[in-house]
């Protein structure tokens, strides 16, 4: 009993440690004074300032655009790659998979500078295109790793059965294989999308000076010191994550209930 109470207190303290910084950030986004030393009354002016900031708007636009395009491209290339790798001979497969693991295992900063060197070497101007190529590059391995397990679970006779029943290989692929591995593809696409939204280090080295995403914008603002508009931005981002996770949770629990019935 005593141990139980102790456990609860410990867990509570850890949660305080995790949430206190976020709570303070949110509270002070409504503070009327620029200094955080005192509370000068409620205001929404930091939010107004945030919405008026053209740099933030541009960064948000690039973040979402790159996340969408890079997750689509990497899902297509990654799924195709997984299917191809699945039917490779053993040593080729392990060679390709080892190289696929490299961007995941390598420190982000090494991936970032190596891509930067490549782009400068190939005389690709650092900007939107280079950042997009970099995002596709670090997303593909995650798509492959999400699709591969589904391919391993796949009953290979299903495809042969479809062919025996007169389906063309393309038809059999779209009607039999693709629906079976769809959950893996969707997981991979979502993973790619969130990783791209959240990326800082690799974007930082490959974006050049003209293009920024939200992370780069936050970094350059935070480097100059504390700024209440970042608090406002954090609050909005935290709220959107919360709402998004809530919806996903609701949906999955509904699915589970429907499966049970």
């Amino acid at each position: 009993m005593v141990k139980d109470i102790f456990n609860r207190i410990y867990l509570f303290l850890i949660f305080v440690f995790l949430y206190a910084p976020i709570a303070v950030l949110i509270i002070f986004s409504f503070n009327n004074s620029k200094s955080r030393a005192n509370w000068n009354g409620f205001t929404l002016k930091w939010y107004l300032q945030l919405f008026r900031d053209p740099d933030i708007k541009k960064a948000l636009y690039y973040t979402i655009l790159i996340a969408i395009i890079s997750s689509i491209i990497s899902t297509i290339i990654g799924t195709a790659a997984a299917i191809g790798i699945h039917s490779m001979s053993k040593w080729k497969k392990s060679l390709v998979m080892n190289i696929t693991y490299l961007p995941i295992l390598n420190p982000d900063i090494v991936t970032g500078i190596s891509l930067m060197i490549l782009f400068i070497f190939l005389k690709v101007r650092l900007g939107f295109v280079s950042m997009l190529l970099a995002h596709v590059t670090f997303n593909i391995p995650y798509v492959i790793l999400s699709v591969m397990p589904k391919l391993k679970q796949l009953n290979k006779h299903l495809y042969e059965a479809a062919l025996d029943l007169g389906a063309s290989p393309t038809y059999a692929f779209f009607k039999v294989i693709l629906p079976e591995i769809m959950p893996g593809i969707i997981t991979g696409a979502l993973l790619a999308f969130t990783l791209s939204l959240d990326d800082f280090v690799i974007s930082f080295f490959t974006a050049g000076s003209g293009v920024t995403n939200l992370s780069i914008a936050i970094y350059s603002m935070a480097r100059r010191g504390v700024n209440p508009t970042i608090n406002a931005l954090s609050t909005l981002m935290f709220l959107s994550v919360l709402i998004l996770l809530f919806i996903v949770n609701k949906r999955t629990s509904k699915d589970i209930k429907e499966e049970k019935n």
């Binding site: 410990y10 090494v110 970094y219």
Partner: protein
Amino acid sequence: MKKKWISYSYVLWMTVFIVVPLVLVLFFSFMSSTDGDFSFTLEHYRRFMDFKEPYIKVLWRSVLLAGISTIICLVLGYPVAMILASKKMSKKSFLMFLFVLPMWMNFLLRTYAWMTLLEKNGFINMILSFFNIGPLQLLYNEGAVILGMVYNFLPFMVLPIYSVLRKIDHSVIEAAEDLGADQFTVFRKIIFPLSLPGVFSGISMVFMPAVTTFVISRLLGGGQFMLIGNLIERQFLLAGDWNFGSAVSIVMMLIILISMAVMSKYDKEHEGGGLW
């Protein structure tokens, strides 16, 4: 289903964007300079290892700070994983959700949050001033960097340990108790050894991002606080010394890959639960 050709676009992509860039980094690290003069040299590696230069100290400081943060994460995180995995806890999935939630927030914002707490007229100094203490210089020192690392990477320690602990067969623990083992012996002889794969993957998942970070040290450590990540960033973006930067990157990559290999040797069962 023989569709090898379908992966050729990826093999091409992989060669151009994964293999060639790393080969370029390796190439530049052995060249005397980037423009024109492509003669082989080990000068950049020698300069990095030279005790008269500050660089080897930077490497040592990075490993030290990351190591301390990893130990703190393990000490703080292991009990959390145990409490969350214990059967008695009600609303387990909700608590787990609460634990993972801050991780979904942007990494830079989580680090920035500590800037607002620790700065000179920040929240902590504001509370301290009620007790007539301070203002203390809390930001821009080693402690702040370690704090930032622990705060950002603690979930990476808890999750793998939690997923291994949950899989432990409870009858093994009951058997030990039936045979007269007290709680501490059960933990030392059964629970802890069985959770080792999770501990090892937790250690590598905290240590690696911590040792390579340049954001936490830049925002919480201030300009003078150089870790190896800052050193690399500086060489490429400010100093423009690609050759030396490449050599440092190769050293860092080797450290990471070697420690990964060592960790996976201990983690033979491959039971360490991943993040996803």
